[in-house]
């Protein structure tokens, strides 16, 4: 069953905080839920489905339903790291199409910065079968992505300067976002001369560490039409969805592509579109190399040509061929709970509604894409692709 047109995004909200010293994780989830309800003009009791991932405390959907006082008939706690909210939108659309719910709430939130634990993620599961064959060697997020970048440079001649252009584009957008953590516009020279974190990635190739979160509300078409009329704004249709994990494949490791090479074509097929139709893209930007990989794997350019695609402002709104992450993205704005999926959807919704900052708003933006990579490119990750249309 195609999900094209079966559901609409009717609410979206990004928490303004970037350091939540006085707010608990559950409170952040509640804040963004309330924000998204207000954006949609809905009430708590309109929600009959709830989605969250591993960033929610306790028993996830159960704990959050209790805290928020939700009466639900459908829950989904699909956990795949930062891409989870993108999968949640697809799963919500499927549940709506199957008649299992009408209005689905998705939340993501966390406070790793206030907790001082941005680099020490959850303790590894001792039963994870790969643990003994990885942990002794010190895989950190930075060096795992460093290996992906180094292999890409080796295979395709990609340069540090080309990767730097991705950060430069994000910084051009972030200067207009008052909530962004890093609002200063940077140059290629500044990126490649920033301290080396894990070669070949410099500090400015890495995303920020931030607290906060975001929420999305997905509803069936009849409800979305009522809301659009009431709120006097365009509707945001779920047009195409795709998801896929990629892993070490029994030791047949190939770092030159991501699972977006599978989730992307599925989403474009469901949408009946091709990459050239997309006017704005939210691309997961844990590191600059993550963006480059998705551009190639989603088909915006050929494999190996990502460096040339992004250089000379290729991703800057109003300048380049594909405006990306016009809120500043994870590289400059916000990467709440070390998970960038929900903010990717939110900025795409802003673009489709014409609610992005005027300096970065894509003119007449009718088709947008949000892409997530949860986990780590070099070891195991899950990609989610979501194509949305303004109607």
């Amino acid at each position: 069953m195609s999900l094209n047109g079966k559901a609409y995004i009717v609410g979206a909200y990004e928490h303004p905080t970037r350091k939540a010293d006085e707010l608990s994780v559950v409170r952040l989830h509640a804040d963004v839920a309330k924000g998204a309800l207000d954006d949609a003009g809905l009430r708590k009791d309109d929600i009959d489905a709830y989605f969250c991932a591993g960033d929610a405390p306790g028993l996830g959907t159960t704990t959050m339903a209790e805290y928020l006082g939700l009466q639900l008939r459908h829950v989904d706690s699909t956990e795949c790291g930062g891409s989870a909210p993108i999968l949640h939108v697809a799963h919500a659309a499927a549940a709506i199409a199957a008649g299992r719910c009408n209005v689905a709430l998705i939340t993501l939130a966390g406070r790793p910065r206030a907790a001082g634990a941005a680099l020490s993620l959850k303790a590894p599961d001792p039963d994870a079968p790969e643990l003994a064959f990885e942990l002794p060697f010190g895989p950190a997020t930075q060096n795992l992505y460093g290996m992906v970048a180094k292999r890409h440079m080796h295979e395709f001649g990609t340069t540090g300067e080309q990767l730097a252009w991705i950060k430069v584009a994000a910084s051009h957008h972030a200067q207009h976002n008052p909530n962004a953590m890093l609002r200063n516009v940077v140059t290629v020279e500044e990126v490649v001369s920033s301290p080396m974190v894990s070669d070949p990635l410099h500090r400015l190739d890495c995303c920020v560490m931030s607290d906060g979160g975001g929420a999305i509300i997905v509803a069936r078409p009849e409800i979305a039409r009522d809301i659009a009329a009431r709120q006097k704004r365009p509707m945001v249709k779920v047009r195409g969805t795709g998801e896929a994990p990629k892993h070490s494949m029994g030791g047949r490791i190939d770092l030159t592509y991501s699972a977006a090479a599978w989730s992307g074509p599925a989403a474009f097929a469901e949408a009946g579109l091709v990459p050239a139709d997309i006017q704005y893209a939210s691309l997961y930007d844990s590191f600059t190399i993550t963006v480059l990989m998705q551009l190639e794997d989603l088909g915006f350019c050929k494999k190996g040509e990502g460096g040339r695609f992004v250089q000379d402002g290729g991703l800057i709104s109003g300048v380049g061929r594909l405006p990306f992450n016009t809120d500043g993205g994870g590289l400059c704005n916000n990467h709440p709970a070390n998970r960038g999926g929900v903010t990717k959807i939110i900025e795409a919704v802003r673009q489709l509604r014409g609610e992005a900052h005027a300096a970065v708003q894509v003119k007449n933006c009718g088709l947008a894409l949000a892409s997530g990579i949860g986990g780590a490119l070099a070891s195991r990750h899950t990609a989610g692709t979501l194509i949305m249309e303004r109607v």
Partner: protein
């Protein structure tokens, strides 16, 4: 921008190598490591090798898998060096001549002189209170 990287580096010293937590199905791997031998898994049903080692072949789901002695030689697939001074270490993927690629460290070498495609050989290094772990050094 202020981040933890701006702070003066603490005298971190060499990185601690956590002892591998051994699951029953990989016990033989670590017993071989105690003897300085690198072994990988091969499936008797489909003939394919795999890593990390499992009872169940990830290529065909047969449980008829057996241990294969590796020559301990291969090439660097990719690597990345993180940290400063004594605390610097190089994470890598090495592709063994037997065909599997495994996560490891490149050691006893100048990381700046390493290259993708370079030939390397296994060298076992002690872990913190557990079995030795297979690392690689230029051949």
């Amino acid at each position: 921008m202020s981040t933890r990287q701006d702070k003066p580096a603490r005298p971190a010293g060499p990185r601690r190598i956590p002892a591998p937590r051994v699951l029953p199905e990989s016990q033989a791997f670590w017993s071989a490591a105690d003897e300085g031998r690198l072994v990988i898994k091969k499936c008797n049903a489909c003939g394919e090798v795999h890593h990390y080692p499992r009872d169940v072949c990830p290529h065909c789901l047969s449980t008829d898998t057996a241990w294969l002695q590796s020559a301990g030689a291969g090439v660097v697939y990719s690597f990345s060096t993180m940290g400063k001074g004594d605390a610097a270490y190089t994470l890598a993927f090495v592709t063994l001549d037997e065909g599997v690629t495994l996560m490891t460290n490149l050691v006893d070498c100048d990381p700046r002189a390493l290259a993708i495609g370079q030939r390397v050989k296994v060298i076992f290094k002690p872990s913190d209170g557990g079995h030795p772990v297979p690392m690689f050094t230029p051949a």
